[in-house]
Amino acid sequence: MDSQNKFMPQDYIPIMIQSFIVLGFVLTTMIMTHLLGPLRKSKAKLENFECGIEGMGNARSPFSVKYFLIAILFVLFDVEVIFMYPWAVNFRDLGANGFLDMLLFLGLLLLGFIYIVFKGALKWDNS
């Protein structure tokens, strides 16, 4: 266990204290508003807007697949960046060989990126 002494769980005690305070604050506020606030439920009070045209339908309607495409591409490149980090830290030690490995890795993904751009996946409007 000696070698692990560098970071002990005790080091996280401040974080734990903070999370308890945050959690406690949220819970107390929620409970207190319920207890202290007046309870009035009428139709007019539950409306989104007091005046104007009445709200129609549900706010959560299905939306374009483009958001999803962007999100999935974001995750893919996110993963890619994660692999770059350990390499960048050791850039000197790994030398030319490591650079070539990374070049191969990035080259394939760059090709994929060019493909995506040419396919117009990042274009927002189709016109």
């Binding site: 394939l108 090709l111 994929g112 060019i114 493909y115 040419f118």
Partner: protein, 474 residues
Amino acid sequence: MRLEDFLLMRHELLLTLIAIIILIAEIFTDDFKKQGIRPLSIILMAIVTIVGFLPAPTGTLFGGMYQATDMRLMMKNILNIGALIVFIQSASWLKSDDNQNKVSEFFLLLISTLIGMNFMISSGDFLMFYLGLELATIPIAALAAYDRYSNKSSEAGIKLILISALSSGILLYGISMIYGTVGSVYFDKVSVAYGATPLQIMSFIFFFTGMAFKISIVPFHLWTADVYEGAPVNVTSYLSVVSKGAAVFIFSIMLVTVFQNIAAMWKDVMWITAAITMTLGNLFAMRQNNLKRFLAFSSISQAGFIMLGIIGGSELGMAAVVYYILVYIFSNLGAFGVIAAISNASGGKENMSDYDGLYKTNPALSLTLTLALFSLAGIPPVAGFFGKFFLFTAVAEKGYWWLLTIAVLNTIISLYYYLLPVKAMFINKAETSIAYFKSDGWTKVGLIICVAGMVIVGFASVIFEYIRTLSFGL
């Protein structure tokens, strides 16, 4: 890395190279020149397949993480042949208007799964094995949903990705237990240290369950029929032949190497599942009317037969498995090729009753389908008979008489339903049978290769003898 090391990995590297070539061709050509991508991909794949057979050194790389032995190279070559036939067969389907703007994607995804399968077969540790397995399954799910405007195709895609995620999870849980008890993920270290403690047996059960999903062994077969029916025919044929073949290959290698210490245990597990798989697959296949579902259940029962060869654990058994997969590639792809051709020409007719009187209108296709079904059933003149014969010999050699009896009974049952489409084509009378149509060159080439394979592989005993010299057992 020395230059010779690249030669060891030539299957994977060449496939990656042609994937890059196709991708560049897709990016930098205009719509008119894109017509050339189909023939280009097929020719490149043919070159890779041929180069794969050239003699080359064997050895291990990356500290045992990558292993190239003669047997594994043979397995990769067989998969390459299967993929090549699928490429050729899908050429005319890809020409249709719906698919024209995603032709290269079809080839790219198939090649990437093939790369994954090759890495999986060459893997020397569980990490590469798992990575190869994922690379071999994830793109296939996108291909199953290839037909974008068909609900069934999307359903097939989502079912495939869900079931492969579930089975991968179970598999990984098993692998993590193996690592926990052994302390290494390298096959050679695991095989030495593996014992029969309760946790190790359970880890094997988890591992087996994960693989059983991939090979679709009963009771983990429920996804098969839906996915096979929903996916486009050419994807289904790839899924049922090449994907399944790759999983069987690596599984048969791992059982006799990594899990050799618990051979008595896995033989029992396999015995029971093989018997159930053959029987249930057959019973369900009899009731199908849609030909894709029919072939799905038939492929389940074929998986049961293939397991017979693994159960023996002898080098004859492994040779029989590899040989049978080779035969299975030709016969099943022959059957799927005919179904794809008819489905494309007739606007999606895939039911058995649609095939009534097909012999009168399309004799060549009917004869090809008949030959393929005979081969699947194991009727003597074609290669399927020899394949089944060797599998049965491998079981009989080790004295599994009950299992052999069940297998023979199942073969007889399967004769019945394999002959149902044949009866529909030759004997049933129909008022409006599918009209005569002329298949284009690619389809013809694909079917000719299949027929030639079914006949030649059966009669050229050299092939089996050669595979036998490469194989190894417990």
